[in-house]
Symmetry: C2
């Protein structure tokens, strides 16, 4: 709006301050070996201020071979659970002076050319890759191996830097809650991929510890619609579970709906507990009992680890165990004795 005044270049700052461009650059970058007369420095700072000078990002990127860009490769931008993770990670990145580029995990792993343009074209300094779903596999290894990366939700893998939540412990907490209420017919409502597998393990561990036999898992999926269909089929086929541990709260909303549409009540006939607290869980009817995991913390942690990777790449696996999974007991779980049906 201010006329057609273009943005200032470094050389114009130098001219205005009557110094060389190199000196301005060194002052801007706080070169520790530099000793300037305070008077000169003040003149340069004034000139920067006067011209509203801001370094040209592409020029810097070319010169430093660093873009200041972190790629986030997600399966769905709109996953209600990971939204919290993404938002925190974005903020953490901004604090560290990085910007975040939104990428499609599917496209990245599937399409050779998209991957090439991104990695070989030096578009980003590093990649935060969301894993743990069925659609992973093949490409992931290659992508993560050719640029500094952190793989979120993957099992420990040689050569990859992974980070994840304590899924096994979370599922155990959920399962123990149902056991303590007196349930003995407890089914796991699962999905595909490593993350679900880890949660199954936690469910089995807790049952084993209590000496209660597992019953066949119900196959759900990572979204409400798939989980609902799975549950409706299960009860239509005469399923006898009184307690359900659901792999994630998005699916639990579908389970919730499916139990009700099967003519059963929550928690009267069936108790439902799921993993992850999210904005909607407390507003359901009845409100959903969940096990909360530190999604915000791990968003920040993943970004920190990624920035470390950029400085010096290394393998390794981190499991965020603190704060521990926390049960938020709400209306969707109760003793099986209260069953009204």
């Amino acid at each position: 709006m201010q006329g057609s005044r273009k943005t200032a270049r470094l050389s114009e700052v130098a001219k205005l301050a009557e110094v060389s461009p190199g000196l301005v650059s060194r002052i801007l970058n706080e070169d520790p070996t530099l000793k300037v007369r305070p008077e000169t420095r003040a003149r340069v700072l004034d000139a920067i201020d006067m011209l509203q000078y801001t370094p040209h990002a592409s020029a810097r990127a070319l010169r430093n071979s660093q873009t200041g860009l972190l790629g986030f490769a997600l399966h769905h931008v709109n996953d209600p659970i990971y939204a919290q993770f993404v938002e925190t990670a974005q903020i953490a990145a901004a604090e560290r002076k990085y910007s975040v580029v939104l990428l499609n995990a599917g496209e990245l792993v599937g399409r050779q050319d998209a991957f090439r343009a991104l990695v070989r074209g030096h578009r980003v300094d590093g990649l935060l890759i969301q894993s743990g779903f069925s659609t992973d596999g093949n490409g992931l290894q290659e992508v993560a191996g050719s640029v500094p990366s952190v793989v979120f939700n993957a099992d420990q893998t040689p050569g990859l830097r992974t980070v994840r939540l304590d899924d096994t412990a979370a599922a155990s907490v959920a399962t123990r809650h149902l056991l303590e209420l007196g349930h003995t017919q407890i089914a796991f409502v699962g999905a595909e991929g490593a993350t679900s597998d880890r949660r199954v393990r936690g469910y089995l561990d807790a049952l084993d510890e209590a000496g209660v036999a597992p019953i066949p898992a119900i196959s759900g999926g990572w979204d409400a619609g798939a989980a609902r269909a799975g549950i409706e089929k299960y009860f239509a086929a005469g399923g006898k579970a009184t307690g359900l541990v659901v792999v994630t709260s998005t699916s639990a909303l579908g389970v919730h709906a499916g139990v009700i549409s099967a003519g059963l009540s929550i928690p009267g006939d069936v108790s439902v507990v799921s993993i992850h607290n999210a904005w909607f869980t407390e507003h359901l009817n009845p409100p959903l009992t969940v096990v909360e995991l530190p999604l915000a913390d791990i968003g920040r942690l993943a970004v920190d680890l990624l920035i470390d990777q950029i400085a010096s790449p290394a393998g390794g696996a981190t499991v965020l165990e603190e704060p521990a999974p926390r049960l938020l007991e709400r209306g969707s779980t109760a003793a099986p004795g209260e069953r009204s049906g």
Copy 2:
């Protein structure tokens, strides 16, 4: 993994193909004025393939003063409604060879330095700014004025390129639905900002047309918690509405919970209809009647308009009226006669 082989440069491709770097560049960029011998072109293409050459993004960006980056300034990355918008917009951008940088609208409009680094530093080619909330105002104008921008959800504003959905029509459809069911005590559950204001207008239009008097609006907010608190307060104070038009479905989930916790039933005592279809609405108990707006279409449209802005900036306002708002009638609305309380 493939040893320490660095990515190839243009000059290496040229050397391998025994031509000049300029020629390789012209072939890569499909220079229309260029006539090469097919044989030479084939040699160059082979060399590109052999070296897996990909242009260096920063070098191109510096040379062309175009980053290929679009900034998306959102209020909340995790808004369940706009997630759909963001996902489609990201895909549309990728199809047009642009990448998307995730930005915080609050930070952008609030913090002077963040804005400067971004715009004056030539970090992005253009900005898609989410507006329509109470926290807008001041900074927005300045930001949108200094870089090619599209402002989503804003009212028509001189000098800004705006795009939005037909909020007024959507609210009218929702309100007419309740009128047709026979409701006469219909309240709007609103929030702050221009988007809510437009929906209020649609609600008032529909009532006016039917000759039904509006009743005082209920102040809710853009999230479930705030809306729930507003509703609980309303009914605790003896509110008499039998029909509620809720500004957005995220809030409607809170309204849903609030009506129930006030001891009323849906739709027996109170009918609830809201704006926007989202993943969770059909799984509520009872499922939520909503008016669907083309969120995916407008994500794509906004990106198209933004890319147009980059080519040649211009003001203007676009309202996406097609496909028209569509009522999805579900269990949360019924005739007031069915009231059981």
